[in-house]
């Protein structure tokens, strides 16, 4: 049996011959299925880390989930353009950080993505003190400082990649990281120094 093969169309022609609205050929449907499979694989590979980074930025797992979800939706909307060769990890961090920066800009400083620091007397799971100390110290830093620390030290991205994600120069990343570390160290009472 002969298969219908969709002709490769150079990008410049896109839109011109696009008359068959709703009349998707089998080839196009297959292409979409392949794209969606790629996208799903990307979400499966990147989802957990992205959500955890979001959590470090906002201290709330529900919100982190929501931010990750929004990030992936935005990426899916741009997927046909993104998927080939894009550094998807870096792109996803850029989208996430922009979402967070946007939210903080819109809300008042006191009403940051997640509100005041909780007094976590009620938390009984594991050793909340140890777990929360860093997150709460982080929350007292500016959002820019949080971002460089999360990207550089929780995610271990290179300075070059962080610069790309945040849209600043490498020297700004270096300076901001050093400054943020100093502040974090002060907040944690120097106990980061082994």
């Amino acid at each position: 049996m002969t298969e219908t093969v969709t002709q490769y169309r150079p990008a410049g022609d896109a839109g011109k011959g696009d008359t068959g609205k709703g009349g998707w050929g089998a080839g196009r449907r297959r292409a979409k299925a392949a794209r969606d499979a790629e996208f799903t694989a990307f979400v499966e590979a990147a989802g957990t880390r992205l959500r955890r980074s979001a959590y470090l930025m906002c201290r709330d797992w529900h919100l982190a989930q929501d931010l990750a979800q929004q990030t992936f939706a935005k990426m899916y909307a741009a997927w046909p353009r993104l998927r080939t060769g894009t550094n998807l990890e870096a792109y996803s961090r850029k989208v996430l950080m922009n979402l967070i920066f946007d939210q903080r800009r819109r809300r008042s400083a006191s009403e940051v993505v997640v509100a005041e620091l909780p007094d976590h007397a009620g938390r009984a799971d594991g050793s909340p003190e140890l777990r929360l100390a860093l997150v709460e110290a982080l929350a007292r830093l500016s959002v820019e400082d949080q971002a460089v620390l999360v990207l550089r030290h929780a995610e271990d991205h290179s300075i070059e990649t962080v610069a790309m994600i945040l849209g600043v120069s490498e020297s700004v990343v270096k300076m901001r990281t050093a400054r943020a570390l100093t502040r974090l160290r002060a907040l944690l009472g120097d106990d980061l120094d082994d």
Binding site: A77, G85, D125, L134, G167, L181
Partner: protein
């Protein structure tokens, strides 16, 4: 202290309640599809232009890796942000390019002028267009109109200035590119193979 900090970050996220990634992907596809739909209806004009260049535009893949491999972020951003003209070779070529873009990263005025003077006096160069940082930013914003997040994150000063040109003889490219890549202020020379009617430089 870095290894310690890294470990503490691990501890900090150890209460992760988890999430179903398959579900996350499914929801993202539904919502992402809606975003795309809205855009298509909202900005039909620019959407068409974006579709036309919907190709391998990545953060990193469009730069020529020249052994050194140490391209600066501005170069990466620039190369990625300026998609090749649809009629040109999508990927940069090392020789045989008809068109080239010479990116300058934070050049001094003198370096910028010097490169311009040399290009004007260079018999290998046919057409020559200078693109300022402002021009570059304007083009970038127009091209990425459907990704406001992305646009918001890129500042004009992170885009390099460039000379875009067409060579009279494509066989001259390899030598030409080697020569100009060495010049002070030049970050990168990116060549593409384009047909006659393509935009000078081979990028949009």
């Amino acid at each position: 202290m870095e290894p310690d900090l890294c470990r503490r970050f691990e501890v900090a996220v150890s209460a992760d309640p988890g999430a179903d990634p398959g579900e996350m992907a499914r929801v993202a596809m539904v919502e992402g599809g809606r975003i795309r739909q809205r855009r298509r209806m909202g900005v039909a004009g620019s959407a068409a232009a974006v579709v036309a260049v919907a190709m391998a535009v990545g953060f990193a893949n469009t730069t020529v890796r020249d052994g050194g491999g140490g391209a600066k972020p501005t170069d990466l951003v620039a190369a990625a942000m300026r998609p090749p003209a649809p009629e040109c070779s999508p990927d940069p070529v090392a020789d045989g390019a008809t068109d080239a873009v010479i990116y300058l990263s934070e050049p001094t005025d003198r370096e910028l002028a010097e490169v311009g003077r040399e290009l004007e006096g260079d018999s290998r160069v046919g057409a020559l267009v200078f693109e300022s940082r402002g021009d570059a930013y304007e083009r970038f914003v127009a091209l990425w109109a459907d990704s406001p997040d992305f646009v918001a994150a890129v500042r004009p000063e992170s885009l390099p200035v460039s000379y875009r040109l067409r060579l009279n003889d494509r066989d001259a490219f390899a030598g030409f590119s080697r020569e100009y890549a060495e010049k002070p202020g030049v970050a990168q020379v990116v060549g593409r193979v384009c047909p006659a009617g393509a935009p000078v430089g081979g990028v949009l």
